[in-house]
């Protein structure tokens, strides 16, 4: 009950966002059931029209577009979610600890992050992926590492303004441990900007992957993924063809939805009563 109540009271945008997210998760989980054909299966002639046997037609090789989109949800969302989670676990935690502990831990971590961040993200990814090879695991690890540096900076900056406040000082004087300081004193007061960042970071992973596929290093064919699917057909956009729009819209919809929900959570946690 306690979960449903705030949901019913949530603004329309948040409800819409949640609905879309749940739908996406279902699609991702049940992709093999929902998709009429296999992910990489060649089932017909290339460029079959919409409707009929193939709901959204086929791509240039004769693979079913609809099935590819459905499998794309699984691959794209899975990778983006894992990456963001990893980035926040590592980056967020280190940032908070750096802010609370200060001293050489802060200095050490901050300098390391400075160095990593000073190397252009795309180039760094390009270098590492060229060395270790492009597969899902290395993509997740590399992007998570790069994103973690951004999260670290933000969480440290936000936590710094919290740490200097009196209640943290008081808790310190009470002799509370690091874990208490992080989870009870600093995190609740630094959560809002971090949550906002989570929403955007999550979406940036899609974008980063599609930028990498622009340079030929994204998720590799024949795996279906929205970022690469947009890239593959992008050249058709200037002819007014809509096929690249489908995966792009799929990404846009989830981005907007995630951020609607984030906004709502943000609003609730801010404690503002007015609506």
């Amino acid at each position: 009950m306690s979960l449903i109540k705030p949901l019913l009271r949530a603004p329309l945008s948040a409800q819409f966002g949640l609905l879309v997210i749940v739908l996406y998760i279902l699609v991702a989980l049940f992709a093999p059931v929902l998709a009429p054909f296999g992910e990489t299966e060649v089932v017909g002639e290339g460029f079959a029209p919409w409707g009929g046997q193939f709901l959204l037609g086929t791509d240039n090789l004769g693979r079913d577009m609809f099935s590819r989109l459905v499998y794309g949800a699984r691959n794209t969302l899975g990778i983006a979610f894992l990456t963001t989670l990893l980035a926040f676990a590592v980056g967020g935690f280190c940032g908070l600890v750096a802010a609370i502990r200060g001293g050489w831990i802060d200095q050490g971590l901050s300098r390391l992050v400075d160095i990593l961040m000073a190397i252009p993200q795309l180039i760094f990814a390009l270098l590492i992926l060229s060395v270790v090879g492009t597969n899902a695991t290395s993509l997740v690890l590399v992007i998570a590492l790069l994103d973690a540096t951004r999260v670290f900076r933000l969480s440290r900056a936000v936590a710094m303004t919290v740490v200097v406040q009196d209640f943290v000082e008081a808790a310190r004087l009470r002799g509370e441990g690091l874990w208490w300081l992080v989870s009870r004193e600093v995190l609740p007061n630094a959560a809002a900007p971090l949550i906002a960042e989570f929403g955007l970071r999550f979406c940036f992973v899609f974008l980063f992957i599609s930028a990498l596929s622009f340079l030929g290093l994204g998720i590799q064919p024949p795996t279906a993924d929205w970022g690469s699917m947009v890239r593959d057909n992008a050249v058709l956009i200037t002819f007014g063809d809509i096929s690249p729009l489908l995966p792009a819209l799929a990404v846009a919809l989830i981005t907007v939805s995630v951020n609607f929900v984030v906004d709502w959570v943000l609003h609730k946690s801010s404690g503002l009563k007015e609506c």
């Binding site: 400075d114 795309l122 200097v164 974008l207 200037t238």
Partner: protein, 319 residues
């Protein structure tokens, strides 16, 4: 202010150290890539003899430490060295492109930063109104499409259909400023759309976060207007995260625009860097990376100093 000066100097010293670390990392990373400049340049036309001749000619047969030392020594004397791929002085290779990159970043920053801050404050002021929602949704939509997708859509509308602007931003030597402006408009627009959302949302979030603080509550009880509360009472305290996000995005405008450069055929540093990585042209990769890293470190340091200056409590840390 003394403590600020000290901080600044300390940061600059650390920045130089970071630059050194970056150059070591890049040198090692490029060294770990499969193949070297000789193989990359000759491609499949390579035979063992030509590759060996190439390596000897460029001194690639020397041990890595010697090459790095030589490079660093030259750099300390202000010499970026020669490109391995075409033997041109790197300073000359980079010069014009560096100007192009900074012009593009500057134009995009001039458009996006004021717009993002203004929109963010307005969104906070009219939070949860239809205006706020519309703004938010459009910003999110803009940012949720890949850069090249946004760019192609803009090209479709403004170049192919309306024929108002050129689809590629190639600059003939000696182009006038007006020409540069016209040719840069679409890339600037693309970049702005990409970076505005994050800055705007951070501004809004940071402001709204503060609106629940007791001192704002107090101000509100005193009957101060919403707009005044936001601009005079909340904004100064929300500056730290906003400045950080702005700095990150400014850095992105300089170092992260490879894709936009490729789509608009804009001769910037990003394309040079990617090409040089592909050809394993280590000195050029080093030079570009150092420029990017220095840009980032400068912006970052400025952001840190500004956020400390904006928060008196950070200026005088206790204990």
């Amino acid at each position: 202010m003394n403590s600020l000066c000290k901080l600044l100097l300390q940061r600059l010293a650390l920045g130089l150290l970071s630059l050194f670390a970056v150059s070591v990392i890049i040198f090692l990373a490029v060294g770990m890539l499969p193949g070297d400049v000789a193989q990359a340049m000759l491609g499949q036309a390579a035979t063992p003899e030509t590759v060996a001749a190439f390596r000897a000619q460029l001194g690639l047969d020397l041990p890595p430490l010697t090459r790095f030392g030589h490079w660093a020594w030259q750099l300390l004397h202000g010499d970026l060295g020669l490109s391995l791929a075409n033997q041109r002085p790197i300073a000359e290779l980079i010069g014009a492109r560096l100007g192009n990159t900074f012009t593009l970043a500057l134009l995009a920053a001039l458009v996006s930063v004021p717009a993002a801050l203004l929109l963010g404050m307005l969104a906070a002021l009219y939070r949860n109104s239809w205006f706020d929602r519309l703004l938010n949704t459009s910003a999110l939509s803009a940012v949720s499409f890949p850069e090249f997708f946004v760019a192609y859509i803009l090209i479709l509308v403004f170049a192919v259909k309306l024929n108002w602007l050129p689809s590629i931003s190639n600059l003939a030597p000696g182009a006038s400023f007006a020409e540069v402006l016209e040719r840069s408009l679409l890339p600037v627009l693309t970049l702005s759309l990409v970076v505005i959302a994050q800055m705007m949302r951070m501004t809004r979030a940071a402001l709204i976060n503060l609106l629940a603080s007791p001192y704002i509550e107090m101000a509100r009880l005193k009957g101060i207007s919403q707009a005044r509360i936001i601009f005079h009472h909340a904004l100064p305290n929300a500056l730290a995260p906003i400045i950080n996000v702005v700095a990150l995005n400014l850095a992105y405008l300089v170092v992260g625009v490879v894709v936009v450069e490729v789509v608009f055929v804009y001769p910037g540093l990003g394309q040079l860097l990617v090409d040089s990585v592909a050809k394993r042209d280590i000195p050029v990769v080093q030079a570009c990376s150092l420029i990017f890293a220095a840009t980032y470190i400068l912006l970052n340091t400025t952001a840190d100093v500004l956020s400390i200056a904006s928060n008196p409590r950070l200026m005088h840390p206790k204990g």
